[in-house]
Amino acid sequence: MKILVCISHVPDTTTKIKFDGNKLDENGVQFIIGPYDDYALARAVEIQGEKGATVTVLNVGTASTEPTIRKALAIGADDAIRVDAEPTDAMFVAKQIVAVAKAENYDMILMGRESSDFNGGLVHGLVGEMMGWPSIAPCMKLELNGDSATMAREIEGGKEYLEVGLPFVAGVQEPIAEWKIPNMRGIMMARKKPLKVIPPVEVEGVTEYQSFSLPEGKSECKMIDPDNIGELVNLLKNEAKVL
């Protein structure tokens, strides 16, 4: 069994987002494996342990993402591929993934439901459609039974259970698996695992990010005495006009 796990390289979730002109101000920003992608990786490594799969991680990024890729190898992926390019938009990234996937015979392609930086939530569906495979997202449970899989997918107000044959693409979220923290042995081994760098395929007509802005700041919070709850109701009704 061969599993491809696609990971993004994103600012830590506690990052205070600031912009320097037209780009994210990366000063002091820690980069991590996309939190949803980290779940995909964790589940893939579990399947590797249960069924003996080969797990390849793929990242579309410049050389600056290599520490993130090494971390994925330390968590348990067998090898890695970096498509050497700035990931400009979802279509661009999806076409890089498809170019890699078409040259191999993966049984499944896993990734997060979305990246936590650009939140497009598109790559799994784009890849699925271009591969001619089903794509399922957000997938919150994944069990393999021979050449098919059972999944739980989150829907509004609940979840649905699905049965799907291999191969497929899934965009995952919790509680599919617990995030894994690399141990010392994993970190040592990751240094020797293969990381192949390949050039991107050309993609035309991508969307273009022109400028960024921050949400308007909140005005001062009005504090209300817990013994005067009526005041809160009054403010919600007559000042905020939300009741």
Binding site: T13, S135, R153, E154, I229, V233
Partner: protein, 321 residues
């Protein structure tokens, strides 16, 4: 040329978010001198579909195939694609949902269209086609230029305020050609809280955190929500500890919501939680810790014991509503 709008229904009724999508599509159609046409799938009450005319749809296509009631990703994407081809649609507008988030990309590939998601405002067409979308999980916005003749757009809640006017639209049966491969993914079971207000659609939300100490104390959260006609939500630790189901988890890795009123009880307000709720119009925070960071993001705050404050608040609300 036309603008196609995908209509999603829940229990046979058109979702409120789909009305926003129709209004959004109608605005784009007005700008380019075309018409907005709606497409609905599965079992939907016909009068609800006709009513889409009042929000700007000139015509409604309905694929009543019951197999589509399962909300299959592949099948729904194929139907929407076929409707777009039939109506020569250059733009497809859909309101974000669990299903729409999954199909937008597939339809875009079928159409050879550019695709942009989580759009929060009408496009600026003065120089090309530029939309504002939410990025960095609610922490920022980006202006994105979308190239190409064909576009797929998914909109966030409150991207537009739909206004009811005009006439009913005609509803036409549309039959899409679907094969077994469109139904290759089988739904075996669905677990859904019936009758509850759906969290992503909710106008008001009451949310509980670890400060509530245990799942047995959620009765007062539900009571408060009921008094307001609100949906209930929770923080990530609460969902991780399985005090509450995962579909109630709001935050960075959960659902992102933008209600007009968000009441957070016993939630400290970690940056990851704020990411899921900071586009709420009004935020009320109830926490016994005056230093809780959530107060900095709130409009109104009460420092107090949730077990005393929440029941009193419920009574006070019942008295005025």
């Amino acid at each position: 040329m036309s603008v196609l709008v995908y209509i999603e229904a829940d229990g046979g009724a058109v979702k409120k978010s789909s009305l926003e999508a129709v209004a959004y599509g109608a605005e784009i159609a007005k700008g380019e001198g075309s018409t907005a046409i709606a497409i609905a799938t599965g079992t939907v009450v016909e009068a609800e579909l006709a009513k889409l005319g009042k929000f700007g749809a000139s015509k409604v296509l309905h694929v009543s195939d019951e197999r589509l009631n399962d909300g299959g990703i592949q099948a729904t994407a194929n139907v929407v694609f076929q409707a777009a081809e039939k109506e020569s649609a250059n733009t497809l507008v859909m309101a974000r949902s669990s299903l729409v988030d999954a199909i937008a990309s597939r339809v875009a590939i079928k159409l050879g269209a550019s695709v942009v998601t989580n759009v929060v405002d009408l496009p600026d067409t003065s120089n090309g086609f530029v939309v504002k979308r939410g990025v960095y999980t609610g922490k920022a916005f980006a202006n994105v230029s979308v190239p190409g003749a064909k576009k797929v757009i998914t909109i966030a809640k409150n991207a537009i305020s739909p206004v009811e006017s005009g006439d009913f639209a005609s509803v036409e049966a549309f039959s899409a050609s679907l094969s077994d491969t469109d139904f290759a993914v089988k739904r075996t079971k669905v677990e859904k809280a019936e009758g509850d207000i759906l969290l992503p659609e909710a106008d008001k939300v009451v949310s509980g955190g670890r400060g509530l100490k245990g799942p047995e104390n959620w009765g007062m959260i539900e009571e408060l929500a009921k008094s307001l006609g609100a949906a209930t939500a929770c923080s990530k630790p609460v969902s991780d500890m399985e005090w509450r189901p995962h579909h109630e988890h709001v935050g960075q890795t959960g659902i992102k919501i933008s209600p007009t009123l968000y009441i957070a009880v016993g939630i400290s307000g970690a940056i990851q939680h704020l990411a899921g709720v900071n586009s709420s119009k009004v935020i009320v925070v109830i926490n016994k810790d005056a230093e809780a960071p959530f107060f900095k993001a709130a409009d109104y705050g009460i420092v107090g014991d949730a077990f005393e404050v929440v029941p009193k608040l419920t009574e006070a609300i019942k008295a005025v509503l």
